[in-house]
């Protein structure tokens, strides 16, 4: 699990804080009076606190900050100390507007992530198959081994195919009643996703070795291809 972190998230997060920090430093330097650095930091963090509303947009929920609660709290705290309020209030506002920086970055993050870690390409989830192996997860699966060469060769060209889950479910029960054959009796383990993608997956292989069902946190993807990626026992090479 250690390698399952999202590098884009971290990178953009660091960039956002860097930007906010630079703005704060500029205000700090430009201020005619001497300000205490630790107070600036504290006020900035307080300014982040805000009231947000959730609105539906762009396919997910956006948390839009509308009330600068942190700024108002600071104002109330410094009622008796108008001088301090005057000195530090701009940093509280910077803190509040930082929320918008984060919001903007979160919009930018999505297309960047899709570029670097395309969620609809199997190579994102199966970046490293050197330690990969097959487990037979259903007794109807014939004994066999993973054909790594075949998998690696076909990965870049695999096309997503639509499937109907109800149909697959019914299939098992419509055929021979006494022996229920599972469509995906194998699971692939020991695979690594692209470094820094933070995308874990569960990968099932079709019983004829010519299909994979990739289950991710968001949804499942089904890929069908020409050559089997399983070497069955007793088969000629």
């Amino acid at each position: 699990m250690i390698h399952h972190f999202n590098s884009i998230n971290i990178l953009l997060g660091v960039l956002s804080w860097l930007l906010i920090g630079l703005i704060a430093i500029r205000f700090y330097r430009k201020h005619p009076e001497k300000l205490k650095a630790w107070k600036v930091v504290l006020v900035l963090l307080l300014g982040l606190f805000s009231f947000t509303i959730n609105i539906n947009g762009f396919g997910s929920i956006i948390r839009l900050p509308i009330l600068p609660l942190g700024v108002w709290i600071l104002y109330i705290l410094l009622l008796k100390n108008k001088n301090s309020w005057r000195k530090y209030r701009s940093f509280a506002w910077i803190g509040f507007f930082a929320n918008f920086v984060f919001l903007f970055i979160s919009f930018v993050q999505i297309p960047i992530e899709h570029l670097v870690y395309p969620s609809d390409k199997p190579t994102t989830y199966l970046a490293n198959v050197n330690n990969a192996s097959l487990i037979i997860t259903h007794p109807s699966g014939k004994k066999g081994l993973l054909n790594k060469k075949s998998l690696i060769k076909q990965l870049p060209n695999m096309q997503e195919k639509k499937f109907y889950s109800a149909q697959w479910y019914e299939e098992t029960y419509l055929s021979d009643k006494s022996k229920n054959k599972e469509r995906f009796p194998y699971e692939l383990i020991g695979i690594d996703p692209k470094w820094g993608s933070g995308l874990s997956s569960v990968i099932y292989i079709e019983r004829n070795g010519k299909g994979i069902l990739i289950g991710t946190a968001k949804r499942q993807y089904y890929f069908h291809f020409k050559d089997s990626i399983i070497k069955w026992e007793g088969e000629k090479q």
């Binding site: 259903h138 499937f163 599972e182 949804r219």
Partner: protein, 247 residues
């Protein structure tokens, strides 16, 4: 000038004390496991109704967890689980009926899971087939299709002359549980409310066989009266019949 020194040293002393207490309670090395006599006494004290007659032995699952099967005065075969917790050996589970249970010593690590049992010799069980199953399923939401292939894996074990036994999970079972778990954890949207033990859809089952390879009758191990306190670490292992198994 004296005041700050007194305050800092008091705080320092307080911190040291806290660290020591934490270590003593949670991280100290276990003292030797009690012998059969003391185990019996502790079992009697905690559950006099069980009327434990004889402790059959004590077996370490790791250096902080022990499995202790026993026989009661009413000739029932049961088991107890002991854990080194808060600087003492605590009785964390017990059952006067010894059908198999899954002891999840560390829920997040399937390699620590142990299947434990103590089956009555009068049931003449010679071997057990354990199953790990995830039912087939499907659903569609907002046009997005989802299919769960059926998982059904089995592992056989033979009972060696003894009524009790314990077993690690096969390595592949652990790999499966782990990989499923990773995706489940990732599904959770908020880091601050993250649940590292997401509910899994995987369950366990067992079928006992007698010396002729036929289904054993569990008159003594499962039916009849008994009681237990299972705690939160033990999970049921379902008794399966031919109808529940595919292929």
């Amino acid at each position: 000038m004296k005041k700050p020194i007194i305050i800092t040293s008091l705080i320092g002393f307080g911190l040291l004390l806290t660290c020591f207490a934490l270590y003593w309670f949670y991280f100290s090395k276990p003292s030797p496991f009690p012998d059969s006599y003391h185990l019996m006494k502790k079992l009697d004290d905690s559950f006099p109704e069980a009327s434990v007659e004889k402790v059959q032995g004590y077996f370490p699952m790791d250096n902080r967890h022990f499995f202790v099967p026993f026989i009661t005065k009413e000739n029932k075969y049961g088991f107890s689980c002991w854990t080194w917790k808060k600087h003492k050996w605590e009785l964390t589970a017990m059952n006067t009926m010894g059908e198999p249970f899954l002891w999840k010593i560390n829920e997040r690590d399937p390699s620590t899971y142990r299947i434990i049992w103590n089956l009555h010799p009068n049931d003449h069980i010679r071997s057990i087939r354990f199953f790990m199953i995830r039912d087939r399923g499907y659903h569609v939401s907002e046009g997005v299709e989802h299919y769960d292939p059926k998982i059904q894996m089995n592992e056989d074990t033979s009972l060696k002359e003894k009524s009790y036994g314990f077993m690690k999970l096969p390595k592949n079972w652990g790999n499966l549980i782990r990989s499923n778990n990773e995706v489940e954890i990732e599904k959770q949207p908020d880091f601050f409310t993250i649940n590292f033990f997401p509910r899994t859809s995987v369950y366990f089952g067992w079928i006992p066989y007698d010396e002729d390879g036929k289904l054993a009758k569990l008159n003594n191990s499962m039916y009849g009266s008994g009681f237990g306190r299972l705690g939160s670490d033990l999970e049921d292992i379902r008794f399966m019949t031919g109808k529940d198994i595919e292929f």
